[in-house]
């Protein structure tokens, strides 16, 4: 039994993730049970426990996007106790080791620091290496938000010409980003040359605010490569975004689990860097945006031999 669980189907990225899972399930002649928990930690854990108690745990594969770091451990422990195979993505507390569990095959995430830095540098390049920016942070207690912001800090350190005027949180949300940006625009007026955001939804919100204020020539960058953002990038409205390839994420977790469950993958013998790794991500700028407008998954990626092709290194 293949199960993919994400926050909700009401945002393009996670919807694409689940679709990727469905595609893979078809590939191996199964179906994926789509679970969403509406961003409620408690509900996510309860769902997992219920699924494991109701279904046949031993041949269950979970591909989970934990709501926050705090949710990873209970999910994994539940799976471990029930004997189900689980792959987690994005959120994991640093002090938890995947290799301590034999049913938690892998945790894969993306180097948020890296992506935060990449888009920052793309922005700075467009701004010509000097100017002022403001930053919109994500939900403050998520690793993603922290790492990405750290990446920005790094980039700033490397580019003395750029100053960070202000940073506020907009909770990864589009309408919050809109309101906050508006206020920041009045606060700093024309001083702002760039807006760094921790995800595309906020970037798009910021864009709207700029439109409403009739401001042009302000560089905006985000992360996640939601279709609208990619479109904006290729139209030149947005500077850059970073793709983690949602459909691939939705499939790969199931693939790894499926291989383990079917014995084609011996979890014990996996190298540490396959148990917890950074996956390959793609910086999208005007030049390569066109290729990402229609994301496509290659079935070959999910053969048990290739499931670890996108490993770019262990999580440090």
């Amino acid at each position: 039994m293949l199960i993919g669980q994400v926050r909700n189907e009401t945002n393009p990225y996670e919807a694409a993730w689940l679709d990727g899972g469905d595609a893979y399930a078809k590939q191996v002649g199964l179906t994926q049970q789509r679970l969403t928990y509406g961003g409620e930690s408690t509900k996510q854990q309860e769902q997992i426990r219920q699924v494991l108690a109701t279904g046949d745990a031993a041949c269950t594969v979970l591909n989970v996007l934990p709501n926050g770091d705090s949710d990873t451990l209970p999910i994994v422990k539940a799976a471990q106790d029930a004997g189900a195979w689980v792959v987690t993505q994005w959120n994991k507390p640093g002090d938890v080791n995947v290799s301590d569990y034999d049913h938690w095959i892998s945790h894969l995430t993306y180097n948020g620091k890296e992506s935060g830095k990449q888009i920052a540098e793309a922005m700075f390049a467009q701004m010509g290496g000097k100017g002022n920016i403001v930053a919109l942070q994500g939900i403050l207690d998520t690793a993603a938000a922290k790492d990405r912001f750290a990446g920005l800090k790094e980039a700033l350190a490397a580019n003395p010409g750029i100053t960070l005027l202000d940073d506020q949180t907009a909770d990864f949300s589009r309408d919050k980003a809109l309101a906050v940006t508006k206020t920041l625009l009045t606060k700093h007026g024309d001083k702002i040359n760039g807006i760094w955001t921790a995800n595309d939804d906020m970037a798009l919100g910021a864009l709207q605010a700029l439109d409403a204020a009739g401001k042009t020539g302000v560089a905006v960058a985000g992360i996640d490569a939601v279709p609208e953002a990619v479109q904006a990038v290729s139209d030149g409205k947005m500077t850059a975004t970073v793709s983690s390839d949602g459909p691939w994420q939705g499939a790969i977790g199931l693939a790894i689990g499926y291989c383990a469950a079917t014995g084609q993958l011996d979890v014990a013998s996996l190298s540490p860097e396959k148990r917890a790794f950074f996956a390959k991500q793609f910086l999208i700028t005007k030049d390569n945006a066109a290729d990402f407008l229609t994301p496509k998954a290659d079935p070959a990626d999910f053969d048990c031999a290739n499931v670890f092709n996108r490993v770019v290194g262990p999580i440090q």
């Binding site: 909700n8 789509r34 961003g39 408690t42 309860e46 426990r49 108690a53 451990l73 507390p93 207690d141």
Partner: protein
């Protein structure tokens, strides 16, 4: 002793015409008080039809286990609602508690549990005081409390998850007694039994409903209205704290928004249980039934394979039907 022999004055034809007969109200009330159970069983049956394995003990235990923190959270608030008020702060208070617990366990060990529950109780007490002394509607006071506690949790935790260094201090709340019964269920049931015993065996129960039904009458009968309300809010706070502890025990960490999403489910649990949102009529056991119903809707639906979009449509519809079934209209004058 006052002796007042008034018997000779009675005119019996007057009596006969005045004496109201026992109307069938009693039996209807009986039926109504069973309604939450009926709704619960009905829902369980429906889920079983959708997925036969739902009815297996393992699965049911998991369900009840999931319902435990919600029931705990709602139990205290039930008393507040019975007093005619409402407590919107319970969820964020539970989150705050989880953060404090995770922070204090390293230093206080198991002692951190009573400590944080105490803090939560105090928080409830403060809200109660503001409500009683300044005459501010509980809706507003606790709405304020909601935001304040959540802010406090964010600040104290530095807006980040705080892992429980050694889970030793909380394992008792997340094990299976005799390898079968999750301890969280037992703890919750103990707490709720305690509350309901106090409500039943001491005057507290009738004081609460007197205040809920008619506060002016209660006050003019010399009841300690303020004290009762304060106690209710304190209890509500303590229960929220305890719920926070249960959540930490199963999450192995505290987080500033851990329980925030449980507010509306908790209120739903109270009302679905048949406690009148207008106060007076209700009980904590009803809330347990309510919590189970709500949990079946929150978790059960998706697990038996309802598509997430239709899940929330079903949730909305069923919750309305459930309340329509369980509420005792004879106990509330006008529905607001």
């Amino acid at each position: 002793m006052v002796h007042t022999d008034v018997t000779p004055l009675v005119k019996d034809e007057g009596a006969s015409s005045e004496r109201p007969a026992r109307s069938p109200v009693f039996t209807r009330a009986r039926l109504l008080s069973l309604m939450p159970i009926v709704a619960m069983v009905g829902l369980a049956a429906a889920l079983t039809v959708a997925n036969p394995r739902f009815i297996e003990p393992r699965s049911l235990v998991a369900l009840v286990d999931s319902a435990a923190p919600l029931a705990m959270l709602a139990a205290g608030a039930t008393v507040v609602v019975m007093c005619g008020g409402i407590d919107l702060s319970i969820a964020t208070l539970a989150s705050l508690t989880s953060v404090l617990l995770a922070l204090w366990v390293p230093t206080l060990g198991i002692g951190a549990v009573p400590a944080v529950v105490g803090v939560a109780a105090v928080a409830g007490f403060i809200q109660g005081t503001i409500h009683v002394v300044f005459r501010i509607p509980s809706f507003i006071v606790t709405l304020g409390g909601m935001t304040v506690f959540s802010a406090a949790a964010l600040v104290i935790s530095g807006a980040s998850t705080i892992p429980l260094v050694d889970t030793g201090a909380t394992d008792w709340a997340f094990t299976r007694i005799g390898g079968q019964v999750p301890s969280s269920i037992v703890i919750t049931l103990l707490a709720i039994t305690l509350i309901s015993l106090v409500m039943r065996l001491t005057p507290a129960g009738r004081w609460v409903s007197a205040i809920g039904y008619s506060e002016p009458a209660a006050r003019l009968a010399g009841l300690p209205v303020a004290a009762v309300k304060l106690t209710a809010f304190t209890l509500s706070g303590a229960c929220a704290g305890m719920a926070g502890v249960l959540l930490v025990a199963r999450t192995f960490s505290g987080a500033p928004a851990l329980a925030d999403s449980l507010l509306l489910p908790a209120v739903a649990a109270i009302v679905v249980g048949g406690t009148a949102i207008t106060g007076g009529h209700g009980g904590v056991w009803r809330t347990v039934a309510g919590a189970l119903i709500v949990t079946m809707l929150r978790v059960g639906l998706s697990v038996v394979g309802v598509d997430s979009a239709y899940e929330s449509i079903l949730y909305g519809t069923i919750i309305i039907i459930a309340v329509a079934l369980t509420m005792d209209r004879s106990k509330v004058s006008t529905v607001k």
